[in-house]
Amino acid sequence: MWRDALLVAGKDLRIEARSRVALWQVVPFAVLVLVLLAFAIGPDAAPLRAAAPGIFWIAVLFSTVLSIQRSVAIESGEGTRDGLRLSGIDPAGIFLGKAAAIGLQLLVLQIVLWAGVTFLFDVRVHVVWLAITASLVATVGLACAGVLYGALSAGLHVRDTLLPLLVLPVLAPVLLAGTKTWQAALDGNASSGTEWLRLLIPFAVIYLVIGIVLYGPLQEAA
């Protein structure tokens, strides 16, 4: 399973390295979300600083949707899915591999966004380990839930409009807990942040386990 996961992740990342879709479309989009939300909130420094964690996670969430759509699109070519099924790769391995590829891209994206909020909103993270832990755990959850819902909508002609409706409510807890954790990390209040990690960790574990179990049946349905 792990070897298969590495194979699939390597394949997705190699495609990304050659096509640069995430780099030239998803990352600029995420930065655009930062700027747009800053416009919506106004030029005053205080409200912007207060909203910075939420803006960061909104940008991450929207970019996650784009990354999932891209990840599904890679597999939607003529006969690609059949090829993947014929290859004998363990479905759990495919799930983990695709999730790992998305997760890695999301981590890179979050580094860019971190720099973005620091630069644009003049905020500084005081408890760095807390913010990094939150990002790592949240990324596992986002990637796993994302790949699952991506597979759920794969092969549908309404895929692109249906996916955000399906996946964004599911990702809402990550937005909530991520924002709270980041707020705590900005304020230097570690104890209130670790409380919200208690929501992020089960989220990641639940979607990881469910994905490993259910990806097989889903793949057959696509």
Binding site: L148, Y149, L152, S153, L214, A221
Partner: protein, 293 residues
Amino acid sequence: MTATGQTARPIPRAPAQSPSPSALSAAAAGRSPRWLSVVGLLGVIALGFTVWLGLWITPPDAVQGNLARLLYIHPPIATVALYWAGGVALVGSLLYLWPRTRSLFWDRLAASAVEVGAVFAALTLVTGSLWGRPAWGVWWTWDARLTSTALLLLLEIGYLALRRVPADPAVRARRCAVAAILVAIDVPIVHFSVDWWNTLHQGGTFLDPGFKLHAHGSMLWTFLLGFIAFSLIFVWLLGMRYRIEVLQDHVGDQELEVSLAERWDEGAGLAGAGAAVGVGVGTAPPPPSGSAP
């Protein structure tokens, strides 16, 4: 199609007219089973009694006055939305995915449960909101239980949107079963939200350790009757929705045949009318070419 199509008319008509097995079972599904009607009748009677007891017989609450009367229906509705509908949807979906028990019965049951559950989730939010305005001063507050219930409704709407996407029944069933399991993850979150986050909404009503209801006798009975009434109505609606699901699938199977037959009848009727009225019908082309719509 040209005039020669008329000679081919009996061929597409035949399957629609002959009583095919699927048409027979559709007719059977069209009759409501007796037990379901009984459940529905009992549910409506129980609901009527709940309304009567709740509005006229029970005394006003010591603290909340008449406002407490809404609590005869809000917790029962929420219970149905969360545990009954969520439970049936989860069990149905798991049994569908389990190869030994795989049958479209479980798929349809789960889908019906999600749809009825969505209605009850919406009612939960509405009744809670009506109560919240006088009691808390706001229609809506970002309380953990309210928010997670609203999320549940959105997740159910997402499921129903997924369900509407046309697909092969087996493919759709499998996809929806996975989606329903993912929706069901939110149910325990709603349940435990009042314990995990100590916000505005009061603690759980049932299933809580150390639960004791201190209430006036008639209030307690009305409260319990409300649970029975809404549970019966849930079973009734679930059964009705299940029948609609079966009928829909049959219609889907026969749609093409029936539509073809209808079009043929239409064409024949037009042709007949055209012939009878003569050239008077401007829109109807002459019979030989006009018979094929």
